[in-house]
């Protein structure tokens, strides 16, 4: 239904959207996620023909929005971030205006009435939009997008600024609309996307970082086994008992959250299921387990992981020197030749450190070999004593890392 290919948008020198491609199938609800300023609104503005892309193409139902804008725009209903309402008009007057503007052919009265009923604005239809609350304005904005019954609905942060009750109402409405329309929805409220969308696209700094179904996405990011436990037991003893369970990797005490109990977070080896063992040991000591749940990564956490900035932002030269000194101090003699390089970003440091640690574990003889084998390439530029090559080098490692 919607096809976006290599979409790029520059605002002067700033690149707001960088080479984004995705497709939305018929009847799908697509969530569009990203922190503020990631390029969500820009992408949506391009999709709807409000802005033009610097490069790339957008096709709505096979119609290019730049080549045949009239035909393509007829298929889209758009609710921008700020609903485009004329405050000096009444709700019905405004909807009638949009009806005329969109050159709608449906029977006017029944069509508008139906929309009003759907978004529940019938009782305010005679009032001036100026006098409506934020929630109602948002609904009128939504109603405006629905005029003409377009195949595609593009909603830019439809629930922003609403109270919880309104959010739920709008969310249900969106689900309902998703049955009849292809829907793109942007948000930074992730639970909303989780609740309403089939598929999620995450963009950060104008770059697409993830495109997957909601369940897949949380599944993929959830390879580690983490649990939260609430147990009615003395904290220190319980900590010892839990730690002694085989397969346990890490235990953290969270202290008392509910009177007469204490909370722990623990991580286990991947293939080990410790829950039965845990129960047995707690039962043995007559410590009732009040709660045990796997602390799955919420979409929030996935979102933060994917859009984490330190993997992108280069360090300042001063910081690079600092990090290098710290790494050298920690690793001491085991400092690898390649750690001589300037660290450009956090992953480069991580990689170098983990390599060094691996080799420390393998014993003193191993490093020389490993260094030869693995870092022959990356060493070459540093041999040339050309400092400028080093960051590039780190950049490559960085890329490989992801």
């Amino acid at each position: 239904m919607i096809e976006v290919k290599n979409l790029t948008k520059n605002y002067g020198l700033k690149r707001a959207v960088d080479n984004i491609s995705f497709t939305v199938n018929d009847g799908e609800i697509l969530g569009f996620l990203g922190p503020n300023g990631a390029g969500k609104s820009t992408t949506m503005n391009i999709l709807t023909g409000y802005l033009s892309s610097t490069q790339g193409e957008v096709k709505i139902d096979g119609i290019d929005i730049l080549e045949e804008p009239m035909k393509a725009k007829k298929k889209i209903g758009y609710l921008p971030e700020q609903p485009p309402l004329y405050l000096d008009m009444t709700v019905m007057g405004y909807l009638n205006f949009m009806y005329d503007l969109k050159k709608c052919k449906l029977p006017r009265k029944s069509h508008l009435q139906e929309i009003c009923n759907l978004v529940k604005i019938t009782e305010v239809s005679g009032r001036l939009i100026r006098n409506l609350s934020k929630g109602y304005r948002q609904r009128v904005g939504l109603a405006q997008a629905l005029v003409g019954n377009p195949d595609v609905l593009v909603l830019d942060e439809p629930t922003v600024g609403l109270d919880p009750k309104q959010i739920i109402e709008i969310r249900n409405l969106i689900k309902k609309l998703g049955k009849r329309h292809t829907l793109i929805l942007s948000s930074h409220i992730l639970s909303e996307v989780q609740a309403t969308c089939d598929r999620v696209i995450i963009i950060n700094n104008g770059v697409l970082v993830a495109d997957d179904t909601t369940s897949n996405l949380s599944h993929k990011m959830n390879s580690d086994n983490r649990f939260t436990l609430r147990v009615d037991a003395p904290e220190k003893e319980a900590f010892k008992v839990i730690s002694s369970i085989p397969g346990m990797v890490r235990v953290d005490s969270l202290g008392q959250k509910e009177p007469g109990s204490c909370d722990f977070v623990f991580e286990t080896d991947e293939d080990v299921d410790v829950r039965r063992e845990l129960f047995a040991r707690m039962a043995e000591r007559n410590w009732p387990i009040l709660g045990l749940r796997s602390s799955e990564l919420s979409l929030e956490e996935i979102f933060l992981r994917l859009t984490k900035d330190d993997s992108v932002t280069p360090m300042t030269p001063q910081k690079q020197v600092e990090v290098k000194q710290t790494v050298a101090k920690i690793l001491g003699d085991n400092l690898q030749p390649e750690t001589e390089q300037v660290f450009e970003s956090a992953p480069a440091v991580e990689q170098a450190v983990s390599q060094a640690l691996e080799q420390m574990a393998q014993g003193p003889a191993a490093p020389a070999e490993a260094a030869e084998g693995e870092s022959a390439e990356s060493q070459a530029p540093s041999d040339g004593a050309d400092e400028n090559d080093a960051p590039e080098d780190a950049g490559e490692n960085d890329g490989g890392d992801r």
Partner: protein, 234 residues
Amino acid sequence: MLAIFKREMSAYFTSPIGYIFLAVYYFFAGLFFYIYVLYVGTTDMTGVFSMLLWVLIFAVPILTMRLLSEDKRQKTDQALLTAPVGLTSIVLGKYFAALLMFTIGEAITVVFALVVAAFQQPDWMVVIGNMLGLFLLGAAMIAIGLFISSLTENQVVAAVGSFALMLMIMLMDLLISVVPWEWLKNVLGAISLSTRYSDFTTGILDISHVLFFISVAVVFNYFTVRVLEKKRWS
């Protein structure tokens, strides 16, 4: 285009702007009519029209200041530009709404002419020439005001900008008299609106003048479309 035209017309009358424009226009027109025609006791209305010219400079920015700047500020342009409507239709819809408002204002001069005719038949060719001249001048000015409105998000900036530009155009003759270079005098003289307008007020109907005013309107409307188009690409 019709949808936008209708909306803008209703917006003039749901906001004070339309009333202010008409009130100002009718008040000054009435004042000048009393001073130059009724008080003196003449059928020659040229004085009224040449004074209305100056009212125009104040009144037209009132009509045009809001048209595109407010859309940009309230982000309603997103609804317009994502609807299946061409930019030209959007601009022309707004332009003709302002033009109709202006025509409603100018229609008062018809009443004046009829009042005069009740006493003594005026020189109808001069009166009609005056009306046509004022209408064409207004049409050109509105296009200029609309263009200025497309450049800013702020109504006040749009109003002051249009006012300054129109005053400049009206004072062009003054400028011409002090410009030392002959060629520049010729160029400015050729684009001066007031010289052409004064021909109308004496009852001369010169087709080239008519075409000139229409051209100004067309060119500035075209510029406005280009400004909107450019916004999409920048």
